[in-house]
Symmetry: C2
Amino acid sequence: MNTEPPPFTIDAFHRGAFHLVQPAGKGHRAGLDAMLLAAAVPNGFHGDLADLGAGAGAAGFAVAARCLRAQVLLVEKVATMADCALQSCGLSENAGLAARIKVAQADVELSGPERVRAGLPDRSFDFIIMNPPFNSARDRATPDLLRRDAHVLTDGLFDRWLRTASAIARSKAEVAIIARPASLAEIIASLEGRFGSPRCLPVHPRPEADAIRIVLRARKGARGALSIVPPLILHEQDGRAFTERADAIINGRETLFPD
Amino acid sequence: MNTEPPPFTIDAFHRGAFHLVQPAGKGHRAGLDAMLLAAAVPNGFHGDLADLGAGAGAAGFAVAARCLRAQVLLVEKVATMADCALQSCGLSENAGLAARIKVAQADVELSGPERVRAGLPDRSFDFIIMNPPFNSARDRATPDLLRRDAHVLTDGLFDRWLRTASAIARSKAEVAIIARPASLAEIIASLEGRFGSPRCLPVHPRPEADAIRIVLRARKGARGALSIVPPLILHEQDGRAFTERADAIINGRETLFPD
C-alpha cells in the first residue's frame, strides 16, 4: 500500500474564483502573503503585470481573477513551482483566466540581454508585484536568530529585485512589495532613484500586536517621501476568525490601498 | 490703551498637573507633539532624562509630572524658549516638580568639549527624548513643497541630533523621537550603530487617514531590526474629540508603548 502523501494539491482561492496546483505540505501563510500582495493592485488596473518570485502563481492569479483587463506574467526561478503555475493555467477551473496568464521560468536577478531573453524586456510592464523569497527563509528561522540576523539575511536582495523591477517598468508603472517590518529601511533605500512616493501599510495579526508584514507600493518617476497608511488587522483580538476587512481582502473583494 | 497681546501665556497641561510659560500665538500642534513624545517614556522610568530641543519644556515637564523619580534636563538653543522654561520652573504651580528639572541653553549640535561645557557630558543620561525643530519648519511649508522637498529639508538633522544623543547616553539608555513618516528612513539610518531594536508607532489623525507623525523608540547597544507597533488614532472618524486612548496619553494617564 502506498502511504506517500500526494505530491501536489489543487486549492481554491477567492471562494473558488481560481484554483492553484501547489506542492503538498505548504503552510497557510504563503497563501496569505500572496493574497495580501495581490490586494495592493487597484481594482481598475489594466495593462501588463509581472509577478516576480511568483511561486505557484497565487498573487498573479488573484490579480487576474479580480482585474479582468490585466495581462499577467508569472516569473519563478524554481522549476517545480513554475511547473505548478503552468499546470494551474491548464486547469478547467481557470479557463476564464488562463488566456491572460503566462509563465516565465527565470531568475529575477538576471540582468541585461539574459533578462530580456528570459522574457523580461525593459520598460514592458505597468505594475510589478514581488514577494522576495527571503520571507520564506526567515519563516524557518527562530525568533532569536531573526532578530540577530535581521540585517544579514536580506543581503541586498531587495536592491537586486528592485533593480529588475525598475528596468522592466514602464514610465509611471507601480511596484508593490510584501516583506517584514525589519526590511523597511532597506526597501526604502532600494526604492531611491527608482520608485518614489512609497506608501507603507502595516499588517498586524491582532489589534494589540506588532506588525508581522508590511506592504509597500510606489511609483516609477514619483518623488514624494514615505507615507504610512492605516494598517490592516487580520484577526479580532481574542478570536481566530479573520476581521471583516481581512476576509474581504483575502478573497478579492477589497483592496489594501485607497486609490 | 495698550492692545498688544500678552507676549507670554501660562497654560495648564495634564489637567493641571503642571503649567508652562509659553510665547503667545503658538498653535495647538506643538503641544500635542510634546505630549506624544513624553508618552514614549515608560511609567516606571527613573534616572536622568535629557529633552533635546525642549522649546518651552512641555515634553520634559510631562515626563517629570508622570515619572516622580525622573531627573530632567531641558536643552534648548533659543534664548526666549529656554527663558520660558526657566520661568516655568519658578511657577508656584510647579513647586512639586521644579527641583527635578534643570535648563541648559545649548545647541544640541555641539560636540566634544563644547558640548560638555554646555551641560551635556558623555554617558550621563538614561533616556533622551527629542523633537527636532524641522517639524515646525515643515509645518509652515505647503503640502506640495513638503512632498517635493521631503528629503532636502532634513539635511542630516537627525544624524546630528542622534550623534549627540548617542554620546550623552549611558549604556542601554533609550532614545525617543517624534517626527513625520517622511523621515523614517533617515531616522533608521541615523540610529544605525548607535541605538538598536527601534520600535515605530504611527500616529493617525483619524482611523482612515494616513499617519501624520511617527514616534520611534530605540535602545543603545541593542541589535534588533525595526518593528512597527499598533498605531495611535487621535480622533474618531467623524468627530473632533480625541479618542479615549489619545486623551489618556495626552493627559499623562497612559503611555504609547507596551513595556
